[in-house]
Symmetry: C2
Subunit: 450 residues, 2 copies
């Protein structure tokens, strides 16, 4: 399936001169981001966006590895037949107007036409690959920000959900490898992508938004294999009666009994999440931080209240907060001022500077009984200089123990959080989000050790 995500050449069937047409936006995006050959196909144009246009696939100087189709539904089966006959491997059918509007006949015609060729879609957004530059999202960059390169791949049954998550991830600065919106899933299905991404070297974490699974047995088999190599995070919706009814009218998915899904996910080593924010909270933590050797969290703070909240949240998440060893306490007493609260949570108090954080992080790193660190940094106080970014990044880069940072505030705080995030340190605006991310890290370490 590597060909689908990074083909040598692409033909755009339905390339258009009209800037408002999907076939124009896709061609334009490809010409800007894709480094391979791109062929516009349109029988009524000589040239589009400076590229020579061809009347049909047969006229092309070479067989494209991938074709992207954006023409009326009823014309698609013939194009697929032609493509298949000349040896095209993959087609992304963006066009809607098939089974989702009751045209089962067009579904059937499409399926019969494809032969060896594999189809993504129809009725989908297609693919975004941050490395190869394949980008079939027909939404302009000002409405949908493309994320930077990274280790998270996302498979979405809903185009709308997928594109809004992608846009959000782009804004937050989270790194994404591949995105797939598979629409009606006439041919290629969620499990096919799961299988491929399990082998894909750039993908470190797989996220899936699904309303239903087409073949439960195969999904379980594939997921069980993949989850041993890399984390799979699934947001399965339609879990209530109302949600399940809505899913049926949306994708026709039989949402199924949620208890059964929970069982399957557990058996397959899948981490289940219930919203998109948690999905990315966990994904970016798993994609950047090492796995912990146990459930014990060391909490650092420069605001007592955040220490209390963190202790509550870490406990509630099911992780532990052990007392520090007498050696660690002795070390901290020697190096911290007398008003610091030497305990776990370790309160460096309101006038803490970068040096105090350095001491605290060193002690936490050396403390055998601490397996991961939750570091609260309140940038509102004057003592915390920007150099704290280097200190935390160095801890994170050594990859001895996972670390997450909690920090809430305005522009000044957010600037520092973004810098940390870019350095591979997951940041959160509340101890709750951070605790749940650490819990997922611990859970996945358990899945891996099974």
């Amino acid at each position: 399936m590597k060909t689908l995500f990074s083909p040598k050449s692409i033909a755009v069937v339905g390339a258009s001169r009209d800037p408002h047409k999907v076939g124009h936006v896709i061609l334009k995006n490809l010409l800007e981001s894709f480094s391979g050959e791109v062929f516009p196909i349109n029988p009524n144009a000589e040239e589009i966006l400076g590229k020579r246009c061809y009347p049909d696939l047969k006229s092309l100087p070479e067989v494209p590895e991938l074709i992207i189709i954006s023409i009326p539904a009823k014309l698609v089966p013939d194009v697929i037949k032609e493509a298949s006959s000349i040896g095209v491997k993959y087609a992304i059918v963006i066009s809607g107007g098939f089974g989702e509007v009751g045209r089962k006949d067009l579904d059937k015609a499409l399926f019969e036409a494809k032969d060896e060729l594999r189809i993504l879609g129809p009725n989908c957004l297609g693919i975004y690959d941050s490395e190869s530059g394949v980008d079939t999202l027909f939404l302009p960059e000002y409405r949908l920000k493309r994320p930077r390169k990274g280790g998270i791949s996302l498979v979405s049954q809903s185009g709308a959900v997928g594109s809004s998550i992608l846009d959000w991830a782009g804004e937050e600065g989270f790194g994404v490898s591949k995105f797939v919106s598979y629409g009606n899933a006439l041919d290629l299905k969620e499990t096919d992508f799961l299988e491929y991404l399990g082998l894909d070297k750039s993908t470190r974490v797989i996220c899936m938004y699904i309303e239903g699974v087409s073949d439960g047995k195969r999904f379980l088999e594939v997921a069980s294999h993949v989850s041993k190599r890399k984390p799979i995070i699934v947001m399965k919706v339609g879990r209530t009666k109302s949600g399940s009814k809505a899913a049926r009218s949306h994708t026709g998915a039989m949402a199924g009994d949620d208890v059964i899904y929970n069982g399957v996910f557990k058996q397959a080593g899948i981490i289940r999440v219930y919203d998109m924010v948690s999905m990315f909270d966990i994904a970016r933590t798993l994609s950047e931080q090492p796995l912990p050797r146990g459930p014990n969290v060391g909490i650092i703070t420069n605001g007592g209240g955040y220490g209390v909240i963190s202790a509550d949240e870490v406990s509630e998440a099911g992780l532990l907060i052990p007392e520090l060893s007498s050696e660690a306490r002795k070390e901290l007493k020697k190096k911290l001022p007398p008003h610091a609260v030497i305990s776990n949570p370790l309160d460096l108090v309101g006038d803490a500077d970068v040096e105090r954080y350095k001491v605290a992080l060193e002690v936490m790193e050396n403390e055998a009984n601490i397996h991961m660190v939750m570091c609260n940094v309140l940038f509102q106080t004057a003592g915390v200089q920007s150099e704290i970014i280097d200190v935390i990044r160095e801890f994170s880069d050594r990859k001895n123990k996972p670390i997450v940072v909690v920090s809430a505030g305005g522009d000044y705080t957010r600037f520092h959080m973004r810098m940390l995030e870019r350095s591979g340190v997951p940041t959160f605006d509340s101890p709750r989000r951070a605790a749940l991310a650490l819990k997922a890290l611990y859970d996945y370490s358990q899945i891996r050790s099974q």
Copy 2:
């Protein structure tokens, strides 16, 4: 207590020429934001920031209604004694170094010195009042953004938690009336502020961050009264064993049995939250939207997946999603294109424009069996023009039924969300947050009707 929040005149004891000193920052902020008279007190200066300086309180041309103290702890009791003797009503003691570091003797001296005078603090951030301009937060604006005027007031036992929430609220564009950080609570306590804010006209919703309550019986009494007039949202931490231990070493609060707190909160009509994000989610919804007449939610979306997620979250929150009446369905069928999914959730589908939202909102507003609206708007799609802001605002301004908006994405989306937020429409980046806010709205309607 109105005098504390909007006095006619203020003296700053410990005003300093050194820009790094707390007594300088506070004086500077007051001179910029407070319209009443400000007197710097410092025996070693003639003038600070262009204001004539006085050696002590007795030398002032008039008795200030409020004094703000930022001098070493051991000097504070004498100043309080002097202030009390000349008839000063309120003192905010910013200085630390009292009970919180074991100096119970200084606590005692302070308490004995005060006589009729009332003290906020010591060891606190003090007050921010967006209307009167009283601002004793000794943190510069670039680190701590001050929020705009609004109906939410916040009382915080932790300065760090309070200031980071305030900074965050400032950035998000949420409106705040008053903020109090009461520190050691030697004299004025959480319940005093609760009582005052219950009567304060500008405060529409009261938020509290507490680690413990000093007088449970009085708290219950006052809260039971206040909650009948306006919503009280409490984040009570120290609810786990680890958290409670951390609270003890932070504020000395006996966090107490969490089950008992839950009982007290329920009896008092208090809405309990577990993190700061939920606190503001609920507070801004309660401060801007009318109360619903029942638990039924109408869901609108232009992305099927968001309809499914919304249905799940609304159900899980304990609210209901009734089917639309046959009249409503007929009306929608007439005015919407055939591929719209006419149901609840109502899916206007991916090519929805502002006109379709207008139709949907009108029908939801007229439908007797719908009590509140959750409106998903995906700004990634090209059909949704910016004019949707006007359409939603008009619905919200009529105050017939509460409305919240869900929208996730990057810059383009966020710009539109901020504009809606500024118009009094609460916006959320996930259906979960929106559903919990609607649930709180419904819960408070039940508290009010009791």
